[in-house]
């Protein structure tokens, strides 16, 4: 009997030590569950899909997997998604974009082999079908049929295109009238985006941030590794630009001080996740950094981190990985187990969309939530 009680005491000691180590006051379990939404919605258009693009245009949200889909912005999340017809191609096409610029919605339509571009399609309203730009635009004199458009971006109502040339370089063009003109930015690294802030365009290639006009740029070596994401905060009194790098660092600068960048390591570099996407949430004063694959797959390339800013300064409130200032849980639950492809913030609706790669999991690749996280991630 004495032995039995000794065993019980030992068990209790083990139990208490284990329980104590498993308890986290900063992590609400029942509250997290209350933020969940149904994830195995196999009827979602984006079920087990990788969503690569998102925009809002003329009363509709547009999302792109291989083809584009759209739903009215007034619909409930997930309600009414339908394939976008692409002019003479109907619904049989691959596309990059669409993006909205200058009152038009543009898409780069590609063939199935994804090596050449069939056309740049556009429409002027959600009730009008897309049509190919005619005559077909050239890219610095190179015919459209010979270029491989990798991405379309919109900034300050200008359309930009990233083209991979025959030397495997990524070249940034902008639509200048009826043709695309080289911006002068070209290199071996992908160009992750173009934003407009404080009267300048901002983009990045390699470890360098470029700012200036469409063909006149100032370069500043900013990051310690390849820049993989860029976004801007144009809502604060002091404009800010943010870039994220392959080595999990996020950098911020005031647009008034474009050579003064402060960086922070958003997560431990051991897990080798790149900052695949960035978005600024003005009401939270946070930058959300999405984790994506650098190259090959590992199980740690998931989810996103929320980085809180210091007021309107270009500095982060946390400085140590894992501090409570960095590891917010507001958007944590449902969507954190997928690779992040991108974000879209609808400022009018204060709604955040997350574009994810769900091809390897039985989940939807597109989710949305109120900016304050009140309704949790909802399957689109």
């Amino acid at each position: 009997m004495k032995r039995a009680y000794s065993t019980a005491a030992l068990g209790l000691a083990i139990l208490l030590s284990v329980l104590a180590s498993s308890c986290d006051n900063t992590n609400g379990i029942l509250s997290q569950i209350q933020q969940e939404s149904v994830t195995n919605a196999s009827d979602s258009k984006f079920y087990r899909a990788s969503v690569e693009g998102f925009t809002k245009f003329d009363g509709y949200y547009y999302a792109t997997m291989v083809a584009a889909y759209r739903r009215p912005t007034g619909n409930a999340a997930g309600a009414g998604w339908a394939t976008v017809s692409m002019g003479d191609l109907g619904t049989s096409y691959l596309c990059k974009g669409p993006v909205a610029a200058g009152g038009k919605l543009y898409a780069a339509v590609k063939n199935v082999a994804d090596t050449s571009t069939l056309g740049i399609y556009s429409t002027t309203s959600s009730s009008t079908d897309f049509a190919a730009l005619s005559p077909a635009p050239n890219f610095g004199g190179t015919a459209l049929a010979s270029v491989n458009v990798q991405a379309l971006y919109a900034a300050n109502d200008k359309l930009f295109a990233v083209v991979r040339d025959s030397s495997s370089n990524y070249v940034l063009y902008y639509l200048n009238g009826t043709n695309f003109t080289p911006t002068g930015i070209s290199g071996s690294s992908f160009i992750p985006g173009v934003v407009y802030a404080d009267s300048n365009y901002w983009t990045a290639q390699g470890t360098t941030v470029y700012y200036g006009a469409t063909t006149s740029w100032t370069a500043h070596s900013t990051a310690s590794d390849t820049i993989t994401a860029i976004t801007a905060d144009t809502t604060s009194t002091a404009n800010r630009v943010f870039v994220g790098a392959k080595d999990s660092h996020v950098y911020a600068a005031l647009t008034s001080a474009p050579t003064s960048w402060s960086g922070i390591q958003a997560w431990n570099s051991d897990d080798s996740a790149a900052v695949k996407a960035l978005v600024y949430l003005p009401n939270n004063n946070q930058v959300v950094a999405g984790r994506g694959m650098q190259g090959s797959y590992t199980s740690t390339y998931y989810g996103y981190y929320e980085l809180t800013m210091n007021g309107t300064a270009a500095s982060f409130s946390g400085s140590v990985i894992g501090s409570s200032g960095l590891l917010q849980k507001k958007y944590d639950t449902t969507a954190k187990y997928l690779f992040v492809n991108g974000f879209y913030y609808d400022s009018a609706a204060s709604r955040l969309f997350i574009l994810e790669n769900a091809s390897m999991r039985k989940l939807s690749g597109l989710w949305s939530t109120a900016e304050n996280g009140s309704d949790g991630w909802t399957t689109e």
């Binding site: 068990g11 139990l15 329980l19 379990i29 509250s31 994830t39």
Partner: protein, 220 residues
């Protein structure tokens, strides 16, 4: 070793070791008294002696095993904007021991484990360890009980753990199928506070569950 596994082993050690000691002592005493205690083994037959009207006398003991459905009712508290639990109907088991300190009044303990799947596809476990007091009475061959429990739990969800207090209240109705066994239904209300402090107070929630299921009671 994952914390949850170690925790389960630890809890099992505690619960098994306590009754085991008592049982050993009881068997020893019974043997010395000339095996005066009859072993309840046969299925109850017509006219069988089920003992007196209130078999829950001082010093008697019982062990119970329950398998139940775990219904999430609602969750409130903290900064919750909804009372939805976002949990599906789950299941639970309970292993309990009770010792009668007065006629019909028992004290004891219970180890439970419940599982629910969240609507997001994650597993939610709760492992309560409780002190239990119950009042039993019988109208043979039926037996009834009402009980209250208080204790602590360990909660696991998506790789995160939490400790907290828990209370349960409920009752049951059983049919005495033999001199040793009763089989019946039990229903218990679980009140599961998840308390957070400081800046994390907003995460505080109060979970409410209803456990209903089958219980087998072995009268020692």
């Amino acid at each position: 070793m994952k914390p949850s596994t170690a925790a389960v082993l630890g809890l099992a050690l505690i619960l098994v070791a306590g009754p085991a000691g008592r049982l050993a002592a009881q068997e020893s005493a019974g043997s010395q008294a000339g095996k005066a205690t009859s072993k309840p083994s046969a299925t109850i037959g017509s006219g069988a002696d089920l003992g007196n009207d209130t078999p829950f006398t001082v010093g008697s003991q019982l062990i119970s095993i329950a398998v139940a459905g775990q219904t999430p009712l609602f969750t409130f508290g903290g900064d919750a904007t909804t009372t939805e639990t976002k949990l599906y109907l789950g299941g639970s088991f309970t292993f309990g021991y009770q010792y009668f300190v007065a006629r019909s009044l028992s004290i004891g303990g219970a180890l439970s484990g419940s599982y629910n799947l969240s609507i997001g596809g994650y597993s939610f476990f709760t492992l309560p360890l409780t002190f239990k007091t119950a009042y039993w009475w019988s109208i043979l061959p039926f037996e009834f009980s009402v009980n209250a429990e208080i204790g602590g739990y360990m909660m696991r969800y998506d790789g995160n753990g939490m400790l907290g207090p828990i209370t349960k209240a409920g009752g049951g109705a059983y049919y005495r199928i033999s001199s040793g066994w009763s089989l019946g239904f039990e229903a218990n209300y679980w009140f599961v506070p998840e308390i957070h402090t400081g800046d994390s107070t907003k995460f505080t929630r109060f979970g409410n569950f209803l456990e209903t299921g089958l219980t087998a009671v072995y009268h020692l």
